[in-house]
C-alpha cells in the first residue's frame, strides 16, 4: 500500500544462495506497491563463455559466510544514503555455475531514473572489489582460481573512498 510505504525506511534485501533468481519477481517484490518509486535500475550478471582451445566448463563461486552478507548489506546501505534510494536488492549465487547461468542481481529503486541507474552501476562495481566472493574456473585441462582484475579496481576507484 502506498500509505503504508510512505513512512517506511528503504527496503534492503541481501541474499547469497545456490538457487537461481527471477529478476521480474525481484523487481515486483522491491517495488511492493510503493508509489513513490519512479523506476528500478537493474543489472543481471551471467556466466560468459570464452573461446580458447580449452573453453570454460563452469565457475565455482566461494564466499565467506557471514562476512559476505555483511559486506553486501553495507554496500546497499551506502548506495541508499548516497543516492537517496527507496530500496536495494542484492542477490549473489554460489556453487557451480555453467556458462549462460545467472550469477548476480543488483536492483535499485528510486523516485528518479538517474539515481537508480547510477547507484546500480556503483553497486556492481563495488560488489566486485568489496564483497568476499572468489571464482574458480573449471576447464577440461585445468582448474584455476581467477585473479582479481585491475580493470575492476579501476572501476571501483571512480566512486571514491570506501565508507
Amino acid at each position: 500500500m502506498m500509505e503504508a510505504a510512505c513512512g517506511t525506511p528503504p527496503r534492503i534485501r541481501v541474499a547469497v544462495q545456490y538457487e537461481d533468481f527471477d529478476p521480474g519477481v525481484e523487481e515486483a517484490c522491491l517495488h511492493d506497491d510503493d508509489h513513490r518509486i519512479g523506476g528500478c535500475g537493474c543489472f543481471v550478471g551471467r556466466v560468459r563463455a570464452d573461446n580458447g582451445d580449452d573453453p570454460l566448463l563452469a565457475l565455482t563461486l566461494e564466499h565467506y559466510p557471514g562476512m559476505t552478507e555483511k559486506a553486501l548489506t553495507a554496500l546497499a546501505g551506502q548506495a541508499v544514503t548516497r543516492w537517496q534510494l527507496l530500496g536495494v536488492t542484492l542477490i549473489h549465487r554460489i556453487g557451480r555455475l555453467q556458462p549462460g547461468e545467472r550469477i548476480v542481481l543488483v536492483l535499485t529503486a528510486s523516485a528518479h531514473r538517474q539515481a537508480a541507474l547510477t547507484a546500480c552501476e556503483f553497486l556492481i562495481d563495488a560488489l566486485k572489489t568489496d564483497a568476499p566472493f572468489w571464482k574458480c574456473e573449471e576447464r577440461r585441462r585445468s582448474k584455476q582460481w581467477v585473479d582479481a582484475k585491475t580493470s575492476d579496481a579501476n572501476a571501483r576507484s571512480r566512486w571514491g573512498q570506501h565508507d
Partner: protein, 86 residues
C-alpha cells in the same frame, strides 16, 4: 596466551590444506602483521603465499583489516586472495 580463530578461503584454503585452525598468540598487544609473521615462520607454502610478492587480504571479525589492525583474544582472522565475485 590468547587464541585466534584463523580462516582461509579460495586459493589460500587449498594451498594451506585447511579452511580453519586455532592459533595461540602471546597475551600482549598483537597486530595482524604479527600473526602473518608467525605464519610465514612456518616456511614452505606459508612463506610463499604470505611472505613473497603475492597479494592477499585480511579480515578481522569479518571487517577488512590492515597489517596494523590489532587482534584480541577470540578474534576471527581470515586470510584470502583479492576478491573476484560479481
Amino acid at each position: 596466551m590468547s587464541t585466534l580463530h584463523l580462516r582461509y578461503f579460495a586459493r589460500l584454503r587449498e594451498q594451506f590444506g585447511r579452511d580453519a585452525e586455532p592459533l595461540g598468540i602471546p597475551a600482549v598487544p598483537y597486530t595482524v602483521g604479527d600473526v602473518i609473521d608467525l605464519l610465514i615462520a612456518r616456511g614452505g607454502v606459508w612463506a610463499e603465499e604470505l611472505g613473497g610478492p603475492r597479494v592477499f587480504r585480511v579480515a578481522v571479525d569479518q571487517e577488512m583489516a590492515t597489517l596494523d589492525t590489532a587482534v584480541h583474544d577470540g578474534a576471527e582472522l581470515a586470510i584470502f586472495p583479492p576478491v573476484t565475485g560479481g
